[in-house]
C-alpha cells in the first residue's frame, strides 16, 4: 500500500489552521469585544483571561504558514501573493494587538492608546482573515507556477461578507470564552452578548452557505451532487444542534458548554469548506498533489510532526490546565 503523504499533510495543515482559527479566534474575539466593555477593570480581566495562552495560540498561525512552505511550497508561493494586501494588513493588526498585551500594563497615560490598538488590531486581523478565506474560496488563478491575478482581485462583495461573518463568529467565541472564564457583571454581559451572537453566527453561516456554491461550479456539484450532498443535509442539522447547546448552556449556567458548542460551530463550518474544495489546495488551480513538495521533504517533516504535535498538544493542554478556572480582578503578573 502506498502511503499518500500529500493527503496526510493536507490533513495536518488543515488541523493546524483549524487549531489556529478556534484558539486565536477566541482571543481575537476577546480583543474585538474590548470595544463594548469600556470599564478598565473589565478590560484588565478580559486581557488577563487570554494573556497566558495567546502566544501559543498564534504559534498555530506560524505552523500554518511555515508548514505550507515546507510541504506545499507551490501553494504557499501562489496563495500569499494573491492575498498580499489582506495578509499584510492582518500581520500589522496582529502586531498592534500582540504588543498591547505587554504595553498596556507599562503606561498610564497611553493605556487607552493600547486598548484601541488591542481592539483595533484584533478587529483588523479577524476581518482580514475572513477576507482571505473568502478570496481563497472564490478561487486563485495560477499560470506557470505563479499567481496570475491582480493585486486587488481579493476584494469582492463575497470576500467582504466572509470577513464580516468571521468577525461575528470570533466575537461569539470571545463572548462564550468570557462566560466561561469570568464572573459577576462582566460574565452576565458576556452571556447576553453570546446569546445574540450565537444567532448572528448561525445566520452568517447560512448566508455563506447559500452564497458559496455559486462561486465555482465545483462547489455547486459538491453541495448538490451525490454523495457529498448528504453533508449538505447533515451539517445544517448539526449546526442547529450546536446553537441549541449554546442557548441551553447560557440559560442553565453551564459556563463551559456555550464555548465548546461555539467551537463545534467553527468545526462544522470548516468541514463544510473543506468538503467544498477538496482536493484543491488553491481552488481551483492546484490540487494537494500538484502543490506537494517531494516525498523526501514530506516524510522528513512528517516524522517530527507525528512525534511532536501530540507532545505540543499535551503541554498546551497543561498550560490551559494551569490557568483553569475563573479569572479575577487583580490577578496576573503585571
Amino acid at each position: 500500500m502506498v502511503i499518500d503523504l500529500a493527503f496526510i499533510w493536507a490533513a495536518i495543515i488543515a488541523f493546524a489552521v483549524l487549531a489556529y482559527v478556534v484558539m486565536d479566534g477566541f482571543d481575537l474575539g476577546v480583543g474585538i469585544l474590548f470595544a463594548l466593555f469600556p470599564d478598565k477593570k473589565d478590560r484588565d480581566v478580559m486581557m488577563n483571561s487570554v494573556a497566558p495562552v495567546w502566544d501559543g495560540n498564534e504559534t498555530w498561525l506560524v505552523l500554518g504558514g511555515g508548514g505550507l512552505l515546507a510541504v506545499f511550497p507551490l501553494a504557499y508561493a501562489t496563495i500569499l501573493p494573491a492575498l498580499y494586501m489582506p495578509l499584510i494588513a492582518m500581520l500589522l493588526g496582529l502586531i498592534f494587538r500582540g504588543v498591547a498585551f505587554e504595553y498596556r500594563w507599562r503606561t498610564k497615560r497611553w493605556e487607552r492608546v493600547w486598548d484601541v490598538a488591542f481592539a483595533g488590531g484584533s478587529l483588523v486581523a479577524g476581518f482580514c482573515q475572513g477576507i482571505a478565506l473568502g478570496a481563497l474560496v472564490q478561487g486563485i488563478p495560477v499560470v506557470d507556477r505563479a499567481y496570475a491575478g491582480g493585486w486587488w482581485d481579493w476584494l469582492t462583495p463575497f470576500s467582504v461578507a466572509t470577513g464580516i461573518a468571521l468577525l461575528i463568529g470570533y466575537t461569539l467565541l470571545g463572548s462564550t470564552w468570557l462566560v466561561m472564564k469570568t464572573e459577576g457583571e462582566l460574565a452576565a454581559r458576556a452571556r447576553r452578548l453570546a446569546m445574540q451572537l450565537a444567532f448572528a453566527t448561525v445566520a452568517a453561516m447560512g448566508v455563506f452557505s447559500l452564497w458559496t456554491p455559486w462561486q465555482r461550479p465545483l462547489y455547486l456539484d459538491r453541495w448538490f451532487g451525490f454523495p457529498t450532498a448528504i453533508f449538505s443535509v447533515i451539517v445544517p442539522l448539526l449546526v442547529l444542534g450546536c446553537l441549541y447547546l449554546i442557548v441551553r448552556g447560557l440559560r442553565t449556567g453551564r459556563d463551559a458548554q456555550p464555548f465548546l458548542a461555539a467551537l463545534g460551530l467553527f468545526i462544522l463550518g470548516y468541514a463544510g469548506i473543506g468538503i467544498s474544495f477538496y482536493p484543491y489546495i488553491v481552488p481551483t488551480s492546484l490540487t494537494i498533489w500538484d502543490a506537494a513538495a517531494p516525498p523526501a521533504s514530506l516524510s522528513f517533516l512528517l516524522v517530527g510532526a507525528l512525534v511532536l504535535v501530540p507532545i505540543i498538544l499535551a503541554y498546551t493542554a497543561y498550560a490551559y490546565w494551569v490557568f483553569r478556572g475563573k479569572v479575577r480582578h487583580g490577578e496576573g503578573y503585571h
Binding site: 502566544d55 500569499l80 498580499y84 493585486w151
Partner: protein
C-alpha cells in the same frame, strides 16, 4: 517617495527592514532567557533573595522584548511567500521542513511555557516554574539552531538536487542541516546574543551603580555581566575568526568585499584598516593599510597569495562599500567589548569593580553596542552573499513575487510607519523598565509595570479590586 523603484528593489528594502527590526529582539531574548534561567537556578540553590528580585526585574523586560520578537517574527514567516514567491517555490522543499521543525520544536515550546514562566509561579510552585524557565531558554536556543541552519544552507548549499520544476530537492538531510557554514554561524550568533545581553545587563547595572539606587542588586548584575564580557568577548573573536576562514573557503567574494581587495595579491595581501571603497574604479581610495597582514590572518603566511574581486565576474560581485564598512563596525565593537571585559578584570583584581565610575560610564554607553554589532554582522554576511539568495544557484533578481510595485511600496511604507511607532514605544517602555529600581516590589512606588507580583501577590492595585 518610492515611485522610481521597481518591485524587486522595494521587496529587498522591505525584507532588509523587517528582518533587521526582527533580529534585534531574538538577539536579546536568547541571552536574556538563559540569564533568567541562571538567576532562577542561583535563587533556588542559594535562597538568596537578590537573585529572585533580579529574576523578577528582568522577567518583565524579557516579556516585553519577547512579545515584540513574536509579532515581528510572524511577519517574517509570511514575508517569504508574499514578497519572495519564486524563491519559496524553489527552496521550500529544503528550507521549509527546517522552519517547520523550528516551529514544532522551538516556538511551541517557548509559547507553551512562557505563560507559566510569566504568570504561573504561584500556581505551579518553584520546581515546575524553574522547568518552565528552562524550557523557554532551551526554546530560544533550538530556534536559533534551526533558523541558522536555514540561513547557512542558503549561504553554502549542500545535500540537494534540482528537479524538473527548478525546485531544490533534499537528497541528504544531514548535509543540508550540517552544511559547511552552519556550525560557525551558529556559534558566532549565539555568542553574539549572549554578549548583547551581557552588555545590556551590564549597562543597567552600571546605571544603577552610578545612581546608587540599589547597590547590592546593581552590583550583582553588573558583576555577572562583566564576567560574561571578559569570558565571551575573547571567545567571540576566536569564533569570528574561524567563521571568516570558513567564509574564505566557501564564499571568497564576500571576504574580498570585507577586506576591500579589488586586486589579487600573489605575494601577500595587505590588511586595509580604513579607506573608501570605490567600486566603479575598482580601488580603495585613501587606504590605510598594513602590508601582508591580511594574508597572515586569512592564510597564516605573510607571502601567501590572496585572490581579489578581479577574479569574480562583475555581475557576481557584492556591493563592496556596505560590506567593507559593516564588517569594520562589527569588528571594532567586538574589540571594544574585549577591552571592557579586560578592564573589568583589572578592576575586579583591584577591588574597584563597584566603585570605578569611568568603567560604569563606559559600560552604560556600551549598552546598545551588541545590537549594533549583531546588525553590522548580519549586514556583512547578507549583503556579502549578493547577488544570490541561494548562493551560486538562485539570483536575488530571480526570487521575488510577481507583485506590482505599488503594492510592495504600500506595504513597505506601512511596515516602516508601524514598526517605528510600535517598536519605538516598546523601546521606550523597555528603557523605563530598566531604569526602575531593581529592588522594591511595591506597586505603589512605580506607575504601571509592577502591579501584582508573580511570586508573592502584591496589594490589589488602587485597593478597589474585589476578590
Amino acid at each position: 517617495m518610492f515611485e522610481h523603484f521597481d518591485a524587486l528593489v522595494l521587496a529587498r528594502f522591505q525584507f532588509a527592514f523587517t528582518v533587521s527590526a526582527h533580529i534585534i529582539f531574538p538577539a536579546f531574548s536568547i541571552g536574556t532567557a538563559s540569564y533568567l534561567f541562571v538567576l532562577e537556578a542561583l535563587w533556588l540553590k542559594t535562597k538568596d533573595k537578590t537573585y529572585l528580585e533580579l529574576f523578577d526585574f528582568w522577567k518583565t523586560i524579557f516579556a516585553v522584548a519577547f512579545g515584540m520578537g513574536v509579532v515581528s517574527g510572524i511577519v517574517m514567516s509570511y514575508q517569504f511567500g508574499t514578497n519572495w514567491a519564486v524563491f519559496s517555490d524553489k527552496a521550500g522543499p529544503v528550507i521549509g521542513p527546517l522552519m517547520g521543525y523550528e516551529v514544532l520544536t522551538a516556538f511551541f515550546l517557548e509559547a507553551g511555557f512562557l505563560g507559566v514562566m510569566l504568570f504561573g509561579l504561584k500556581r505551579v510552585g518553584p520546581g515546575l516554574h524553574f522547568l518552565a524557565t528552562g524550557m523557554v531558554a532551551l526554546g530560544t536556543l533550538i530556534s536559533a539552531t534551526w533558523i541558522l541552519a536555514v540561513n547557512s544552507w542558503m549561504q553554502t548549499p549542500t545535500g540537494f538536487a534540482i528537479n524538473e520544476n527548478g525546485q531544490f530537492i533534499p537528497v541528504d538531510w544531514w548535509a543540508v542541516i550540517f552544511n559547511p557554514s552552519f556550525p560557525y554561524r551558529l556559534v558566532h550568533m549565539v555568542l553574539a546574543a549572549y554578549l548583547t545581553t551581557a552588555f545590556v545587563v551590564g549597562a543597567v547595572g552600571a546605571w544603577h551603580l552610578l545612581k546608587r539606587t540599589a547597590p547590592l542588586r546593581a552590583y550583582t548584575m553588573f558583576s555577572m555581566a562583566m564576567w560574561m564580557a571578559a569570558i565571551v568577548a575573547p571567545l567571540q573573536i576566536l569564533a569570528g575568526d574561524a567563521h571568516g576562514l570558513n567564509t574564505l573557503e566557501h564564499q571568497p567574494a564576500k571576504v574580498m568585499a570585507m577586506e576591500g581587495h579589488f586586486d589579487s595579491h600573489p605575494n601577500g595581501a595587505p590588511l586595509i584598516l580604513f579607506g573608501i571603497p570605490n567600486q566603479a574604479e575598482k580601488r580603495v581610495d585613501y587606504a590605510v593599510e598594513i602590508p601582508k597582514l591580511s594574508s597572515l590572518i586569512l592564510k597564516h603566511g605573510l607571502d601567501e597569495p590572496l585572490a581579489g574581486l578581479d577574479t569574480i565576474p562583475e555581475d557576481k560581485q557584492p556591493p563592496v562599500a556596505i560590506v567593507f564598512w559593516s564588517f569594520r563596525l562589527m569588528v571594532g565593537i567586538g574589540f571594544a567589548m574585549l577591552g571592557i571585559g579586560m578592564w573589568s578584570l583589572l578592576c575586579r583584581y583591584r577591588g574597584t569593580l563597584d566603585s570605578n565610575v569611568w568603567l560604569h560610564r563606559v559600560a552604560v554607553a556600551m549598552g546598545p553596542a551588541g545590537f549594533a554589532a549583531v546588525l553590522a554582522g548580519w549586514v556583512t554576511t547578507e549583503v556579502g552573499r549578493q547577488p544570490f539568495t541561494i548562493y551560486g544557484h538562485v539570483l536575488t533578481a530571480e526570487s521575488h513575487s510577481p507583485i506590482a510595485a505599488p503594492a510592495v511600496a504600500t506595504s513597505l511604507i506601512a511596515f516602516i510607519v508601524v514598526y517605528f511607532f510600535v517598536f519605538g514605544a516598546g523601546t521606550f517602555y523597555l528603557l523605563r523598565l530598566m531604569a526602575r529600581l531593581p529592588r522594591d516590589p511595591s506597586p505603589e512606588l512605580m506607575e504601571g509595570p509592577i502591579r501584582a507580583r508573580g511570586i508573592t501577590p502584591g496589594p490589589a492595585h488602587g485597593g478597589t479590586h474585589g476578590h
